[in-house]
């Protein structure tokens, strides 16, 4: 029961993107979505005001004036435009981001999630996460299904301080694709070689197979 790799989790999310979507990818596994081969024509938006960025710059060809929100040196597509931070978050807050894909420490079956504060820490790292979570049309989360010690990250309620409430629409973990459904998660698609019982054992909330549940083709 290892399930999907990190890239496969990103692939499972990226394949849900639709034509003309404006997509914001968070730091970590979400940035891997831009490696997925998809046919949809996507516009990538980055909090620091880059609209229409493309693949990572090849080593040695980095533009020192150009990074995405993760600080990675990206390239620009022909349709790219640059705006300042206030205009960039105007785009976010006004609901023009079709999907934001973020990592998280925890996600709950009521749609809450937590990704800005580590247990016991003073302070935190919010970045653009709260704006995106509150305002994007869809919030997709990618995270390992459990902590290193095996404790579940998919919970009935978040234990950590939340980033936003009731906003998560879709979750990719190494074990499958899930939708928060109030008091439980719907399992939309299961990773190959993983059983429903294994998923249930690793999850801190009830899990129900969604009607028409499929097996993920990595």
């Amino acid at each position: 029961m290892s399930g999907l790799t990190r890239q496969q989790m990103a692939d499972a999310i990226a394949r849900r993107f639709e034509d003309d979507w404006i997509v914001n990818l968070g730091v970590g596994i979400p940035t891997m979505c831009s490696n997925t081969a998809i046919t949809a024509d996507i516009i990538y938006h980055s909090e620091n005001g880059v609209i229409g960025y493309g693949p990572m710059a090849a080593p040695g060809h980095e533009d020192m004036h150009l990074v995405n929100a993760g600080g990675q040196h990206v390239t620009l597509k022909p349709e790219a435009a640059v705006v300042h931070h206030a205009d960039s978050f105007a785009i976010i807050r006004s609901g023009k981001i079709d999907v934001t894909v973020m990592g998280a420490y925890e996600v709950a079956s009521n749609g809450d999630f937590a990704n800005w504060k580590i247990a016991g820490a003073k302070g935190g790292g919010i970045g653009g996460a709260m704006d995106l979570a509150a305002c994007a049309k869809r919030v997709f989360i990618i995270l390992e299904h459990t902590q290193r010690n095996g404790a579940p990250r998919l919970l009935r309620q978040c234990a950590l301080p939340v980033t936003a409430r009731g906003v998560v629409k879709l979750i990719a973990t190494n074990l499958g694709l899930f939708e928060p459904a109030g008091d439980h998660f719907n399992l939309v698609a299961i990773a190959p070689g993983v059983t429903l019982d294994e998923v249930r054992a690793a999850t801190g909330a009830p899990v129900e197979p969604a009607p028409g549940m499929t097996e993920i083709v990595p």
């Binding site: 020192m64 004036h65 960039s88 807050r93 003073k122 935190g124 790292g125 919010i126």
Partner: protein, 244 residues
């Protein structure tokens, strides 16, 4: 006749920063950070500063001048940032120790709210409502209000005494151009500030060098400018070392 805005060096350009000033530092990751002005500030002797930036800094390598350095020098009483702690449990920011000991205060602000609070200050708006952070720890005990069935948080403007910014090109009247994601917080911090000090990556060009349609920050916002010398005298963005 208007006085020249061009200063011979960074120390001269930041001369006279009063104790207790609120200073915004532009930049996001490496692009657009006023590294040279921040370095000069370390030697200024200013105390009790409130420092505003995306992050307190110090998470990446090589480490460039950041708010953390000013904190380590005992110059800072408060930071207002979107990152006040590391997001990986295995990391620790230089700032953290001083924050946890209570030596320095911190106000943690979502990045879009941070940008908009400065934009509001620069636009004469004392306060505005935002959906961001509603229902979170950051909204605890604060004023919210429902518009059209959705709950919003009241956020105050964040005016600055000084904005330290970095631009790609400048003309003698202070009109600035930024390159690519270098723009980020720089123009809005400038609009929020009483005094704007810019480090510039190219020689100052004559007034009229830019088409008036192609100016990212109008010269009326810019008070002092310094040309950044080539490395090693000047500090320039570096490639980040890959993370483990």
């Amino acid at each position: 006749m208007a006085r020249s805005k061009v200063y011979p060096g960074f120390a001269e350009a930041i001369h006279g920063i009063e104790d207790g000033s609120t200073i915004g530092f532009g930049g996001f990751a490496m692009p657009g950070v006023p590294f040279n002005l921040m370095k000069a500030l370390q030697s200024s002797g200013a105390k009790g500063l409130t420092c505003v930036a995306n992050t307190t800094g110090g998470a990446g390598q090589p480490r460039m001048p950041d708010i953390g350095h000013l904190v380590e020098l005992g110059m800072v009483s408060k930071v207002i940032c979107a990152f006040t702690a590391a997001t990986r449990a295995s990391d620790q920011l230089p700032f953290t120790k001083y924050y946890e000991s209570g030596e320095v205060e911190a106000e943690l602000v979502p990045q879009g709210t941070l940008a908009e609070r400065m934009r509001a200050a620069g636009a004469g708006i004392p306060a505005f409502y935002t959906p961001t952070a509603v229902g979170t720890e950051l909204a605890a005990g604060r004023e919210t209000r429902v518009f059209a069935g959705r709950e919003y948080l009241l956020e105050p403007a964040l005016p600055l005494d000084y904005a330290f910014i970095r631009a790609h090109r400048a003309d003698a009247s202070g009109n600035l151009r930024f390159r690519r994601s270098q723009r980020n917080f720089n123009p809005i911090m400038a609009m929020a500030a009483r005094v704007v000090i810019a480090e510039v990556e190219n020689d100052i060009e004559p007034a009229g060098a830019f088409d008036p349609d192609d100016i990212h920050l109008a010269g009326i916002f810019v008070h002092r400018m310094v040309v950044i010398p080539p490395a090693p005298d000047g500090l320039w963005p570096q490639l980040r070392e890959p993370r483990a």
